[in-house]
Symmetry: C3
Subunit: 139 residues, 3 copies
Amino acid sequence: MKSYRKELWFEVSARRGLLNITHQVEACLAESGVREGLVLVNAMHITASVFINDDESGLHQDYEKWLEKLAPHEPVRQYQHNNTGEDNADAHMKRQIMGREVVVAITNSQLDFGPWEQIFYGEFDGRRRKRVLVKIIGE
Amino acid sequence: MKSYRKELWFEVSARRGLLNITHQVEACLAESGVREGLVLVNAMHITASVFINDDESGLHQDYEKWLEKLAPHEPVRQYQHNNTGEDNADAHMKRQIMGREVVVAITNSQLDFGPWEQIFYGEFDGRRRKRVLVKIIGE
Amino acid sequence: MKSYRKELWFEVSARRGLLNITHQVEACLAESGVREGLVLVNAMHITASVFINDDESGLHQDYEKWLEKLAPHEPVRQYQHNNTGEDNADAHMKRQIMGREVVVAITNSQLDFGPWEQIFYGEFDGRRRKRVLVKIIGE
């Protein structure tokens, strides 16, 4: 069994944003030399997500609006967590809806994807450097 | 390490519906010959889910109503994504709540499940053929 | 390839509660002897979650309030599922938002975590003994 590990670093300049990280994960897979196996891609921070969906800018605007409706940032005082000096309680909730991680099959040295699947880093409390972990096991 | 891959195809005749696919996944597992390992089951389309819950029809009606409350289909014009000619933006959201994938332990050649766990394909934009990927690794 | 399996049992005395189970998962990992691989941690019951977030009590109160807003327990008659004699339909929904499982990378015999990642058991229909499965594969 082979294993491979890499951290990807991102800094989103706004509080929230979505980054397509599919190519970085593909580069990890090429570097790993794994032909058959699984790749785990997870946010290492608890106010960010890794998820798979469509790379369509209108949809990304819809996600922004929808997540703000389900877990609004303001008023920050509605959340107990923000009494600790943080203002990111909403980011902890948005991340639960969008998810921490994805597990993707590796087949014939490729990400085994359907036609529109793309991997995104979802930042909900940005303006600082944060990490995503890529872990590959297989052979 | 053994690996196994199969695509399962489904066509839900309505826009939305839930299908119990546990037996199909069990058939894949038997075919793979894997005794100890992990199985990944994921939707290959970004408007569908694979999730684990209870096979109870009342609950499935509750999910339908609840998802429509959290991410309503109508009015379709409320979503930027639908300006692309689609009417399925809500399906991209419902899928995030219900999830893209499950990872299930394989122990003694069986899905290692609690008493009520069943695997479902959740369709949120149906009336066409769509796929689920089953990937098994182990020995 | 090594594999390891253990069930962790929990009984939350209230209907809902969050338990930090990171140390129990670390003990499983030490017992497994796996240095490189993946660990799957999943609720074996369909009204409970395993998820990764922050061990901060204010945030846990925020989750309780937020989940009750998105999927309220009362009135229990709003849910078809509760016509079966259950009163836990809301728990099946809360579990979908918080998730069934996490997959965590194992690197150098450790859970490969960011600075604040902790594993939680999320109970949404407690007052009875329920199980979490820990499955480890690797070498």
